[in-house]
Symmetry: D2
Subunit: 332 residues, 4 copies
């Protein structure tokens, strides 16, 4: 199930310590200007090496294998890969029998009968999201003039993100965070009520990003405490502009032209330098584990651009579906 | 996009005030005992007529059109319909030009160029979830011995649900709520990392239910304030049992055999008896609107069984996919 | 797998002797004029009751359950059913242990572990194609001005179709035939090279019609004897018109604007009045079988309209996909 | 639409003269022995360089990017690429304005508004089938003990294939051929009646191979001249063995355990050295064209292994679907 999308379709592949990771983007409109440089900014935002992120720094240079010619998309599937370079697989030798709590070590061995590549998390690694970011760069061009912005608004329970990260790093522990994502210049009418509403498509992609554990649209969980008369967003002009945005720009699963707005919670990275208890499947007893590999103390720092990509991919797919079914719409 | 699922596939159809609504379930294992009565309990739980729910009470009797013979599923697609009976469409005449805030009135007219059936919300109506509940009954049999339980744990910001509902009803307003869902006796290994992890599949279905605005797994949004050393769930025996469950029974998108746990927020019903402001597209000015039709003051009361159905459908699909790809697995 | 299509999606359900059969069409552009009468002509063409077709005559009246309002498609899924009326299931009692040669009796019992509904062929019955024809009526409107025409050009090896049918009927045996299908006013550019070329999509649907055993496009099997210089279709004007049509209007899997042309072979109906040998699974020995139910001596007579429907559904899907991805294209 | 399959899913990418071509295989059972050498035999069979095939000889060495570790499939998506090496793109400069008859030159320019990469046929090139063959190698392992064999049984209308090829090559022209494919040791019960019967899935893949123009199963087009009593395949033992095989091992779209049998027609390569007429879109008049690049005079020589791959991929997908839905079946 390594593909997502109906028309604008994204497929990822690769393992953290395999030869390369990559992505194929299919259903892309031909004639979109696209060159290798266009990927730089977003891939850099995702990259590690900043304070609070893993010291494993990959070149991450995208190599375009297909679908682009003379600086334009051709209409054929676009495949982009990047080589894995600085693997230290021995860091992971132990986890087969002493699975790290919170990690996929245990489930992947069971699901794949011991054949999964677990080095660096293998296909479960956050590294696979590199392909999502690359696909997001293309998706953003398709949905233009829609603009998507994601920000880490909270880390370790605090708005003072830099401080929180420093503290966690100093303690050798990890922290989570909350990311807010907003899309401006939204078009009216994106989304299909059953089973492809805006929220469903975005959340499907967001939960494919490792470490995400929750998503809320508009007022989200706070809606549970509101009255309908308070939660409803009154229309105030003929373009459907509303005076509040508790619905996050979505009514009945369809974009209403107001800003699309959602928040995602990222759990603290499972790998921490703190000694933990877990089960040793070899010895058949509870044991202690201290993860010594290179890790992010606040993976959430790197995720805003991935969330943007997820939103862009979702909207690009919804846009092409809508254009297919409804063509250029007349208005009421 | 009226179909969801890869192997166990559910398709819904119908409008609130059309002749009938229904569901087709495809990819169902043959030989599963199933008779019309099996649907009764869950359909009754979804039904209105209780305090806080709309006085429109439908018979909701399921008519099985295909796929079942002599009390067993046959392996052919199962189609089940129910007739719409007590429509009062005139209640909805006004909303074409004065769209209700928070409703699909506005977006559906734009998206479908004025051709959508908006009576009673049309295909956007919560009524369409009848089919999800029916499909859920079948899904629950497929995933046995897994047992799923959903409960409304909060309404209008209060745990005292009955009181909160009474108060809102008295005021002619509506309230939302939070539903908690738990699946016990979980199997290890359900879920596909990209792009079909447990969280993605469940959230995709959950956000197809009208009025849902957020979902969180395990510790969910509270994870943002936790340390990794605190959030991680230590394994304590050879079956993968963990001593805490902050991950909601899911690692790396794959079920780890512990209880699957998630919460969903339901917004207050958009239709309230309270007078609201909105835009009159005919007059081109802001106007007032008072919704007088029959509505739920706390739609969240009816949604737990739909959430159960969504979870069951998701797990049934994941189970059949896993059995297809991995067969009967050996263990490490 | 009861659904076909990417955007314009058709799902069928039902068994020959169940309560009803039907079809759901999703992804249909809103605002298409559609009323119950529109189905009459094509459903009549498919209907039995003519010389050479089964004396089982169903009312076949379509009941529209959803997706159409005030004579127009609404954009919501369209479900249409028809009740089964004149079943004589006792005709089929024997086939569980003495499966009819050429029929699905044997394989369906094995595949579904004995739980399949085999009365009248169950879900394997040609009767299920009723839904394809209904969907084809809608598809034809979407692809207008493309016009599709199918004709039975050969039956029992002869162009004198009426005679061939009469002879077979008199002998209590059955005959097959060849159907030619042509689509005029074709648009340039329909089809996606991998894996959704015109030929693949049409053949996928055509082979879902029971009794079809072969398909060829343009010169088809005769191509094997031609030189490239002879087979190539030279372009002769700026619209891409070609002076011959050995490629059946398709180059590289994409429509080139010339007539789409293909032929389908329909095998003789498996049910014949002639005594046949087959295995008796109860007695464990070869036995004789004489099928006494009501059957078509030349099922091919009823299939042209189903082939038209298959072609229309394929082209409608390809058209909406192309419009989604490529929008309104500029020309070279 | 570069992906085919439901569970066992194959995605291709690349252009003839781009940096690389490749394939991703998803849904592959973990623990299947697989090493780079396993691809050699089939890739060699597909390779050019023999008499009658293009003198462009690619290294075609597969590079495995993901999904395989220590000689076994891991359960993660498998991506395999090969670099394009000996491109002579200048051969193709002319075809933008003077499209080759029978080729995708014309339609691809229209469909993709002039942005397609047409060098060497681009994404329409037969070269893309390299990925199908690689995927077929894996599929064959999944469906073991089923064995698939394809043979070119006729070229240029003659059984004397070598002679026919030599003659065509001498004349600078091209010829087509007919390929027969047989699968032995078939399992009973593969295929889903609507819309995933064996014939539909195989034909969908076969028509994705450039130059195929027809397919027939069992007696195929000859069925049109047979009586039902003659065409039916009588069962003769308790395993479902039949005494004839006019149905090609398929009843009602489901494999019946007898040999799967079909034939495919391959048209003569469109590129021939013979001077042809075609339209010059620049000059707006009919012109002559002589194709001077490197081409196959009988592309059909290279296609048997691709047909095998298509059949293997189809059966692998049907097998995993069947195992998912029906588990390990009891027998009647």
């Amino acid at each position: 199930m390594n593909t997502f999308g109906t028309i604008f379709r994204v497929s990822v592949f690769g393992e953290s310590h395999g030869p390369a990771i990559g992505v194929t983007i299919d259903g892309c409109t031909p004639g979109i200007p696209l060159k290798a440089d266009d990927f730089t900014a977003d891939l850099l935002r995702r990259k590690s090496g900043k304070k609070g992120t893993t010291p494993r720094i990959e070149g991450d240079i995208p190599e375009i294998l297909s679908g682009i010619k003379d600086g334009f998309t051709t209409g054929a599937p676009i495949t982009i890969i990047t080589r894995n370079e600085t693997m230290r697989s021995s860091d992971y030798d132990n986890f087969a029998t002493v699975p790290r709590p919170g990690h996929a070590d245990f489930v992947s061995r069971r699901k794949y009968s011991g054949f999964s590549d677990n080095r660096g998390g293998g296909h479960f690694s956050g590294r696979i999201t590199w392909g999502l970011v690359a696909a997001g760069v293309i998706a953003k061009k398709i949905i233009s003039p829609i603009i998507i912005k994601s920000t880490l608004i909270e880390a370790g329970g605090s708005n003072s993100i830099e401080e929180a990260v420093e503290k966690a790093t100093a303690e050798g522990d990890s922290i989570g965070g909350i990311i807010e994502c907003r899309a401006e210049n939204m078009q009216i009418g994106l989304g299909e009520p059953f089973f492809y509403p805006v929220e469903a498509v975005i959340s499907h992609l967001v939960f494919s990003i490792p470490a995400t554990k929750g998503i809320e649209f508009g007022a989200g969980f706070a809606s549970a405490k509101m009255r309908g008369s308070e939660h409803n967003d009154p229309f105030i002009d003929e373009n459907g502009k509303t005076s509040s945005n508790n619905n996050g720009g979505i009514n009945g699963g369809i974009s209403n032209g107001n800003d699309l707005l959602f928040r995602v919670v990222v759990k603290p990275t499972s790998s921490t330098g703190v000694e933990q208890h877990t089960f040793d499947f070899n010895k058949g007893e509870i044991s202690t584990l201290k993860v010594t590999g290179r890790h992010d103390s606040c993976i959430a720092l790197r995720i805003p651009v991935i969330i943007e990509a997820a939103a862009a991919i979702a909207l690009a797919d919804l846009y092409l579906i809508d254009r297919g079914i409804n063509g250029v719409r007349g208005q009421d």
